[in-house]
Symmetry: C2
Subunit: 117 residues, 2 copies
Amino acid sequence: MTFDPASLRYNDAGLIPAIAQDNTSGEVLMMAWMNRDAVERTLRTREVTYWSRSRSELWIKGKTSGNVQELVEFRLDCDRDCLLVAVRQTGPACHTGRRSCFYTTVENGAEVVEDGA
Amino acid sequence: MTFDPASLRYNDAGLIPAIAQDNTSGEVLMMAWMNRDAVERTLRTREVTYWSRSRSELWIKGKTSGNVQELVEFRLDCDRDCLLVAVRQTGPACHTGRRSCFYTTVENGAEVVEDGA
């Protein structure tokens, strides 16, 4: 079946959550949002592209920082309302310089923060 | 620092996305939503609990199907607006009987669906 980006279920703001996972380690790197144009551009260019909710513009991941995500695999879930992209991540995915955005763990009721890069 | 479920950034509906990842394989199993009560209950009981948007009630994953998710690790991201839970998954995570909800891949413009269980 041909894939049509319009067939995904976007929220009221026209966005769908996209989880980025490291293609080799399986580490979950980040979650961000795509709109229809970002989905189409990600598949066409293989440069993972999100929608920046703060800047209200397409966000080609790593375009300014160099920390690009090359698309390796593009998946959607059973409800068609969430995406999972396997990526070849250059440098850190997180703006804090850490590999992943999920560097804070809750253990025994306390937050434990992993060291930065 | 003590973790306060109220310190997370929920959306206008009071929800935060939660990604469930298999603790051993690293496979991303599903994404669902939690509200503050679900976060609190997940941490207290170690039974991963979501908020069902269709039923508008707490959804103790696997309570009726038996396909429970035992919490192994609870993480939050740099923006405090997304959760990542490492789980010990009993049975399939997906309602279709598949291990993961992300069984559809987009390859060369076409949808490729993995076999069901």
